[in-house]
Structure formats: C-alpha cells, structure tokens
C-alpha cells in the first residue's frame, strides 16, 4: 500500500481545484514522477473529472416554458399591488388614509337620518315634506335631506333630494339641475362636490338643520 497518502492527496485536489501554489505544484510533480501509485491515482482522479465534463448538456423538453407559465399563480394585480405597497410605504400610507377617510364618509351616510332642508323664504313645511307652493318663486338652490319635496311653483336654481322623493306638479319649473340621491356612492360624490364648493365658495345657500 501507499505510504505517502494524505498530504499528497491534498495537493492533488488542490491541483484539480486550480488553487495550488507554484511551490506546491512543483512538489507534487516531483512526487508523481517518483511514485507510480500516486501517479495512477492522479490519473484516475483526472479521468473521472474529465469523464463528467464530457457529459452533453441536456435541454429542457419542448413546452417547458409554457408549462411554467401555466403553473404560475394567476396574476393577480393584487399581488403586484402588494409588492408595490411593500416597496413604497408612502403609497401604502396614502392608501390606508384614503380607506379610512372613505369609511367615515360611508358611515356618516347611514348615521345622519335627520330631516333637513335649505332655508328659503316662501317654503311650506308639512311634516317631513317641503312644498314649494304654486305661484311662488324660490330663488337659489334647494337641498332636502331625509324628507320629500313637492314642487308646485318655481325654483330658480338646482334641486337636490337626499334619501327622499321628489314630486313635480305640472306647474313646476326648475331652472337648474335636479337630482335624487339615495345610494352611498351618489352621496359620496355629492359630498365631495359640496366640499369642493365650500372650499371655493360659489354656492350661495347652505343647508340648515331643523
């Protein structure tokens, strides 16, 4: 058996790894020249490495790529969004703020059940119904919340009814826009519009609670 094993084998591996010092390489070569057993061992190591390196690279089968694409979880604009949020904390904060803000808008839509309307001269109130009497002319916008509106006369402005119904007599005249709001989104939109109008005061009238 070989008596010069361990240190020389270390040198052989260092040589095969390609990180051997010039001095060690010289030492190894001298030893291999002198020792037939180690020479054979070195040849075998080289051969087995070379044998593996001769293996042909294999190609992925046809349809591999489409197979991967089919296995991907469905995107998932949501996941993209999640990643975006993870990357941009400011965006996340803004989104959270918006969600909370809209929650307050929506909840106040449900909470506020009080009957209220725009105070205008010459309006007649019967229970929860606001009446524009025949022959009268209401100057300015008219907003009725949680109540009904009956128009027999004339309104020189916009008419808005929130959670209520509107009756127009045949003699009724509305010069501005006329709308009925009874859904949360309509209401949100209305709220945003009036907020903007409050900031840039263009409207003349304010709702007054009764």
């Amino acid at each position: 058996m070989n008596t010069c094993q361990e240190p020389v084998i270390q040198l052989m591996h260092a040589y095969l790894d390609g990180d051997i010092s010039r001095q060690d390489e010289q030492q190894l070569k001298e030893h291999l020249f002198a020792c037939q057993h180690c020479r054979e061992m070195m040849d075998e190591l080289k051969m087995s490495a070379l044998f593996l390196q001769g293996a042909a690279p294999l190609k992925a089968p046809d349809g591999f790529v489409s197979g991967v694409m089919a296995r991907l979880p469905k995107e998932k604009s949501q996941a993209g969004l999640q990643r975006q949020l993870r990357r941009h904390p400011l965006l996340a904060a803004a989104a959270l703020f918006f969600i909370l803000m809209s929650a307050t808008f929506f909840s106040s839509f449900g909470d506020n059940q009080q009957f209220s309307f725009t105070k205008q001269p010459n309006l007649v109130i019967e229970g929860e119904t606001v009446i524009v009497p025949a022959g009268e002319i209401v100057k300015g916008d008219l907003v009725v919340e949680n109540g009904n509106l009956r128009i027999e006369g004339e309104v020189d402005g916009n008419v808005t009814v929130i959670r209520g119904s509107k009756y127009m007599a045949s003699t009724a005249v509305v010069t501005g826009k006329s709308e009925e709001i009874d859904r949360a989104f309509d209401w949100l939109w209305y709220k945003i519009k009036t907020t903007v109008k409050d900031i840039f005061p263009a409207s003349k009238s304010e709702p007054v609670e009764e």
Binding site: L16, M41, E44, L45, A49, F51, L52, V68
Partner: protein, 187 residues
C-alpha cells in the same frame, strides 16, 4: 445579461407576468439539466425545475438584485431536488415491469442508486454512464459534483448556491471526486 435579467425582474415585480417568460426561456436548460442530473429522471426533473421557476416567481421580491440571479435560481432548484431525494419513498420496485414497454423494467427507466453488475455498466453508453455514476454518489457529494463538473461553476458560486462555507464545499468536492474515482476504478 445580469442587466437584462434585472430589468425583466423589475417588470415582473410591477405585475407584468409576461416578462417572466423571458427569464424562464433564458435559464430553462441550465436549470433542467441540474435537476435531471440530481434526480436522474426526466419527468421529475421537469416537474422540479418548473416548480423552482414558480417559486422564484412567487418570491421574486426577496431576490437581492446586487447578486447573481442564476445563483439564487440554482439555490431554489437544488433545495427542491434535495428535498425530493430525501422524501422519495420507494413506491415502485426496480424489477417491476413498466406497463406498455414489453418487458422493460425500471432499471431501464432510471439511472440511479443501486449497483449494477460490472458487465452491464461497461455496456452503457457514456451519457448513460455519467448519470449512473452520479446517481451512486451520496446526495451531498452529488450536488457539488454536478455544480462543479456539469455546470462548471467556480467553487465560490457553489458555496453561494448551497450556502455552505467555501472550505466545506472544497471538502465535498474532494470527497466526491475520491468517491467517483473509487466507484469507476480504472476505466
């Protein structure tokens, strides 16, 4: 190439799934090859290599773009292969006849663990023999030998892929090489 890959990765992160297709196309053969050599079975190799790409896609935001994408991808794939090898239960017998192959048994289907009679080994073609010899290596040597000699990766890259110290990788390459020499004998 790294620049192109990172560009595509950023597109994927923004939610563009199609950009991932280019990444798969670029790396499919190398990844499949490693999986095939690790597992020794084309169906399993395809399954695991595809799974590796899916995992890469799902976790793409955890990839550090200052590093090599191929290293990260190889890490996912080798981990999956190692898991598969360890979990693999012998749910078939080597001698069982494969249905519809007129008497072929599982020996002809997998070139994997288990020693064959010498004369049978000598009749193998070189490509088949490579797979047979790799399959006989213990799993921890098999992985480094495949990465070193079939992928021809530098030792440092192998250390990054397997998250092992460089010294450990060297030792495993040495032992793997020694094991190969012993099992192959004098060719």
């Amino acid at each position: 190439m790294d620049e192109l890959v990172n560009k595509r990765i950023n597109e994927v992160i923004k939610g563009n799934q199609d950009a991932f297709e280019e990444i798969v196309t670029l790396f499919q053969h190398r990844l499949y090859h490693v999986c095939y050599r690790m597992l020794g079975n084309p169906q399993e190799a395809e399954d695991i290599a595809q799974e590796a790409f899916v995992r890469a896609y799902v976790n793409i935001h955890t990839f550090d773009q200052k590093r090599k994408f191929s290293t990260w991808l190889f890490r996912i794939a080798t981990n999956l292969c190692i898991d598969r090898i360890r979990k693999k239960k012998p749910d078939y017998y080597l001698d069982a006849t494969v249905p519809g192959t007129d008497g072929l048994n599982m020996y002809s289907q997998i070139a994997a663990s288990g020693d064959l009679p010498e004369e049978e080994v000598e009749r193998m073609e070189a490509q088949e023999r490579v797979q047979y010899e790799i399959g006989r290596l213990p799993e921890k040597y098999r992985t480094v030998i495949i990465l070193r000699y079939l992928e021809e990766l530098p030792l440092q890259d192998i250390s990054d892929i397997l998250e092992l110290p460089l010294g450990t990788v060297k030792t495993r390459v040495h032992r793997g090489r020694e094991a190969l020499r012993k099992q192959m004998g004098n060719m």
